[in-house]
């Protein structure tokens, strides 16, 4: 009995401390299952069945569907240059990168929301909610994202494969205090 109660606590804490929402859902599902075992041991089989069915199955499926529905992928594109000339190599690079992102989004059923600004990285990080920040300077394109964003690994893999430029592309991992989780 005590063992299960302790495990319950462990999973509750684990689900709070994870970065990715999807792992938190899995932990919560295990938590519910353990909860139902506890009810069973307290001689309440009726409640145990209800908890097992609703808490660990239906709620988890609903959570996962909700996660699937979180579709908008916000990309900030910042550069110091205010006006990019048409047909310059910079504009070309930018449109190619955008095309690559759109293609990625189409595969994953996301919607890309591209926003062009002249704000600096820090400003964006502080004031806006973002999924990806692309910094374009003279020689490099820096793609910044959060590790806890659950498309981050996929997008970097995809860009590594499909997006080649003359300029060097660097990937940076941001760690922000905003626990948005998305």
């Amino acid at each position: 009995m005590t063992f299960f109660l302790l495990l319950l606590m462990v999973f509750a804490v684990l689900s709070l401390l994870t970065d990715k929402l999807i792992t938190a859902f899995v932990y919560l599902s295990v938590f519910s299952l353990l909860c139902s075992i506890c009810y069973l041991l307290y001689q309440a089989p009726d409640v145990a069945i209800a908890e097992a069915v609703i808490g660990s199955t239906i709620a988890t499926v609903l959570y996962l569907v909700a996660l699937k529905k979180y579709k908008i992928f916000r990309v900030y594109y910042t550069s110091k240059v205010k006006y990019i000339k048409k047909f310059s190599w910079m504009a070309d690079e930018r449109s190619r990168l955008e095309a690559a992102l759109q293609k990625f989004a189409k595969e994953k059923e996301l919607e890309v929301d591209m926003i062009f600004t002249t704000d600096t990285l820090e400003q964006i990080q502080l004031h806006y909610s973002y999924d990806l920040i692309i910094e374009s300077e003279d020689e490099t394109i820096r793609i910044n994202g959060e590790k806890s964003n659950y498309h981050y690994d996929e997008i970097i893999e995809y860009l590594n494969k499909n997006f080649k430029t003359i300029k060097s592309v660097r990937y940076a991992c941001l760690t922000s205090s905003e626990g948005d989780g998305t």
């Binding site: 009726d46 145990a48 069945i49 209800a50 069915v53 609703i54 239906i58 569907v65 908008i72």
Partner: protein, 128 residues
């Protein structure tokens, strides 16, 4: 969830007769053993959830389920009224068991309909 996995496709058809049997068992034996209308109905809900996981684009008749749920609600109100006011409670002891099973069954199917509606309402319509 358009790209469904091969594992789900192969395992779930094997599982879901068992799940439905379990749900019906809970409904039928609710008056003696643990279980009952709500639990049985909730177990039965997994029928449509599994169907959604296997074939997401299969057509659903949600409006029919909504009508069915309303009818069941009426029945759940009417049946106890009939049972009470016609004096069946005191006269026939043998009816008690059947009455329990019938009520459990009705409640189970109503819960099944309600949960299915919630699930599909959420899956098909709600989005940002």
């Amino acid at each position: 969830m358009t790209n469904n996995s091969e594992i789900m496709k192969r395992i779930m058809p094997l599982m879901y007769p068992l799940i439905i049997l379990f749900g019906i068992y809970l409904l039928m034996n609710g008056h003696m053993t643990p279980g009952g209308g709500f639990q049985g109905g909730a177990v039965l809900t997994s029928y449509f959830i599994i169907q959604y996981l296997i074939q997401p684009d299969k057509e659903m008749y949600l409006s029919r389920i909504i009508i069915l749920e309303k009818v069941l609600f009426l029945l759940i109100i009417l049946l106890p009224c009939v049972y009470l006011f016609y004096g069946l409670v005191n006269n026939y002891d043998i009816l008690k068991v059947y009455y329990m099973i019938l009520m459990n069954g009705l409640i189970g199917i109503k819960v099944f309909c309600g949960m299915t509606i919630i699930f599909f309402r959420f899956v098909l319509f709600e989005s940002r």
